[in-house]
């Protein structure tokens, strides 16, 4: 069924299915009017931030949304390079493939890459196994991010979050104001009219900017295909050593993975829909090894993207709480 669907796509990006095993299309077709509009609205957002704020940074999480974000930034400022650095919060629990891809991307695009790790968390040995995903995320991601933003003196940070991901994100502005303590007050958001974004802040305050607010997961993949944007190979199906935990397929990625009694890794064909820290990110069973195959597979998905993220399931409203505290 998915293949029939792909063959009858009404939009131009579906016509180009001559992809190699790496998923990169060989020929670039014109964008559909829908993707073109999303793209150009995002470019507008990038340019507004650079024109109005003093010291922006792009928060690079290495996933597909970040790949699209970077691509849009390259478009927005061409022939100049994006006039801001790219920040990665390294929890030290990312997949090796992600780190390699990150460094390669920064090199390929000529970007200034800033990597930050919460050294205090490392010293205290905070990890996803002993401390639980909630505390671990708070220390190694949220706190780390706040440290890095304060250290860099950044007054604006681009993030790849989309409103379709989760219902508290569906409420957030494109220019999202943060207090000097980097907190979000969802009950006091600035009105945001037309595309007249208000980037005015006082010292210490900042703006988080979400150029992909109006994109859906499907838009992102269609755009990756149409624009031939490189993504981490983990998005494509490959055999991996897997253990099943709480209904999630976890990759036994390195020797730090702690197996519970009775758990035995087993090779399975899997890929990722969303990428994070490997012990906290569930894979899905799949044979989709190219972009068209991924898109065809998506058309049949019955669960949401965030199902694979253990950190979102800790407690009700967990995303909103994390965001109020400064999580992206």
């Amino acid at each position: 069924m998915p293949d029939e669907r792909a063959a009858s796509w009404p939009e131009s990006q579906g016509q180009d299915l001559q992809s190699g095993a790496d998923g990169r299309a060989r020929r670039r077709a014109a964008l559909s009017p829908h993707l073109k509009r999303l793209q150009d609205e995002s470019i507008f957002i990038f340019r507004e931030v650079v024109a109005e704020l003093r010291n922006p940074v792009l928060l690079y999480s290495i996933g597909k949304d970040s790949s699209v974000l970077l691509h849009l930034a390259m478009r927005a400022f061409y022939p100049a390079r994006p006039p801001f650095p790219v920040l990665h919060i390294d929890t030290t629990w990312k997949f090796r493939e992600m780190i390699a891809f990150r460094d390669e991307t920064a090199r390929r695009l000529g970007l200034e890459l800033v990597v930050h790790t919460n050294e205090d968390g490392i010293r205290r040995g905070v990890n996803p196994f002993d401390h639980g995903s909630s505390y671990y995320t708070q220390v190694m991601k949220t706190e780390a991010l706040k440290q890095a933003l304060a250290k860099g003196g950044y007054d604006a940070a681009f993030g790849g979050a989309r409103r379709d991901e989760e219902r508290s994100r569906a409420k957030e502005r494109i220019f999202s104001f943060r207090s000097a303590a980097q907190e979000w007050d969802p009950k006091k958001q600035r009105p945001e009219l037309w595309s007249l974004y208000n980037g005015r802040i006082r010292d210490g305050e900042s703006i988080r900017v979400f150029p992909l607010s109006n994109w859906t997961e499907l838009d992102v993949w269609q755009y990756v295909l149409a624009e031939d944007i490189p993504v981490v190979p983990l998005y494509f199906a490959a055999p991996q050593p897997i253990v099943e935990r709480d209904g999630q397929l976890i990759v036994v990625h390195d020797e730090r993975m702690r197996l519970k009694p009775g758990e035995r890794p087993e090779m399975r064909m899997v890929r990722f829909r969303s990428l994070g820290c490997y012990p906290l990110t569930g894979a899905i069973e799949s044979r989709a090894d190219s972009l068209p195959a991924i898109i065809a597979e998506m058309l049949g998905f019955q669960t949401s993207e965030r199902m694979g993220r253990l950190i979102d399931r800790d407690e009700a409203s967990s995303m909103e709480r994390k965001k109020r505290e400064g999580y992206f």
């Binding site: 507008f44 022939p79 969802p186 998905f301 409203s317």
Partner: protein, 638 residues
Amino acid sequence: MADSAAAAVEAGVGQRTGNVFRLPAEAGMLRFLTCGSVDDGKSTLIGRLLFETRALFEDQLAALEHDSRKYGTVGEHIDFALLMDGLEAEREQGITIDVSYRFFATDRRRFIVADTPGHQQYTRNMATGASTADLAVLLVDARKGVVNQTRRHSFIVSLLGIRHVVLVVNKMDLIAFDAERFREIQETYENFATGLGFESLLAIPTSARYGDNVTSASERTPWYEGPTLLAYLETVRIETEPVGQPFRMPVQWVNRPHLDFRGYAGTVASGRVRPDDAIRVLPAGKAAVVSRIVTLDGELAEARAGDAVTLVLAEEMDVSRGDVLAAAGDAAPVSDQFAAHLVWMSETPLIAGRSYLIKAGTKTVGGSITAIKYRINVDTHEHLAAKELHLNDVGVVNLSLASPIAFEPYAKNRNLGSFIVIDRLTNETAAAGTIDFALRRGTNLTWQHLDIDRSARAALNGQKPAILWFTGLSGAGKSTIANLVERKLFAMGRHTYVLDGDNVRHGLNRDLGFTEADRVENIRRVAEVAKLFADAGLIVIASFISPYRADRAMARSGLEEGVFLEVFVDTPIEECQRRDPKGLYAKVAAGKISNFTGVDAPYEAPENPEIRLSTTANSADALADEVLADLRRRGIVG
């Protein structure tokens, strides 16, 4: 998921999930909002729509069932509003606070829906959702009919230029699907809406809770022959891009990676542009020719409305952010004075004369509302006299900008006719505005250039002009110190002038009273006079209570760095009351004066004054010497 079968029956559909992701036949998408009064069922309706179009994933449905048990307002059943009300506070209170954006697609079309709050307090969030929508779904509770908030939202929808409205008469289940009542509401609304400029207006009877006429035609409304809500949304024709308009592009950012490239990045606001097209750079009006349209994919033969591009001009010229590039043969008008509609969004009321920042297109300039022509009663469309605009008021005003901009009336072009008002101090977005027309054409308007300027006069006088702005409570000692400072400067042979609150009110500002609006105007005039005197080379000493930071910021605005010195005469209120040199505090205490600064009207102390004088620790004479020492340090006097 034991209750899933029950839920599905209640929902009226057999299958709970299908394909969430669709690739619709139509290339474009429809952006719409839901609006109407609180509790009319907006969130429930959209939740229901998402559910029935199978736009929900299994885990989202499971979470919905869980939340319905915890927060639901409908007993055992699924509370679809919880899909939209994504904030904790919203779920706890059972109302929508801020707009929620959701995305869904059917086999025919893609949709972005903004589900907005009905509560009057959050009207600005409704306006946020409406500003990017092409169609409004306006809900009415069938039991209550058209109410105040229905009319307010309709008015804002119309003001923001939405031309297509669906009137959803909801909760029909609670009035036994009474056709008479439906028609009555429809008629009342149609009468109200004449004059709001809607091109299409369709009324649909629904029950969001039970799904009648949402995606499938209801058997309980046999008398209704129109389409279901979804069928209508899938097929309604909306013209989004006005055709045949001349080229305009606000410059967002000057792209200058190296000496050999200078491009102007922006999104085409209307029309189209090609290499070799003749254009004008507004507001200056300079002529230029486009040489290339640069993108990452290579150069383009043409760019059209909506395209984000970078234009290179044939000749190097001075173009900056905020300028508008426009077709040479049909350039946009330029002005600095406008008649405009405003929706006020701040808790702090709008006061005519106060200085704000205005962001229009990519340009942010200082400006003020010179007159509030009237406030609009959104129920009756009546024009009411007003001195202030309060939160959620809609009014018509005169807007004056510090420098001219290129524009179009909002009705002609949303991109060039819209603006926001930003509070200079809090930086909040205080209002949304739409330009109706220019009050005067500013094409030939430039500041009269004079050969003898401030620095020439300053050199002749042997002093740097300055404005010493004394602020503080009544009785703080402003005038006393100001007089001493002037005497000392005079003795040194300096040229000075004192502007004093009481004296000015006898002449220049004789027509002003003590309302907040009049106080603002008082300060504005004094500030302008002070600027002229400083321009004439004088050291101006102004002493005014000037209790509001915004007004002092206005007095400072437009001056070069270092000219305006805020002198805070810092005396505690208790000390002022004890001194009471004019007997005013006694009158206040006796109830003969009200609205008195420091007592029952606010005094906003300066946060970073250039000079702070503490009168409890020092004599007036010593403080005057302190001021002089400061002026020497700053090189204002030698």
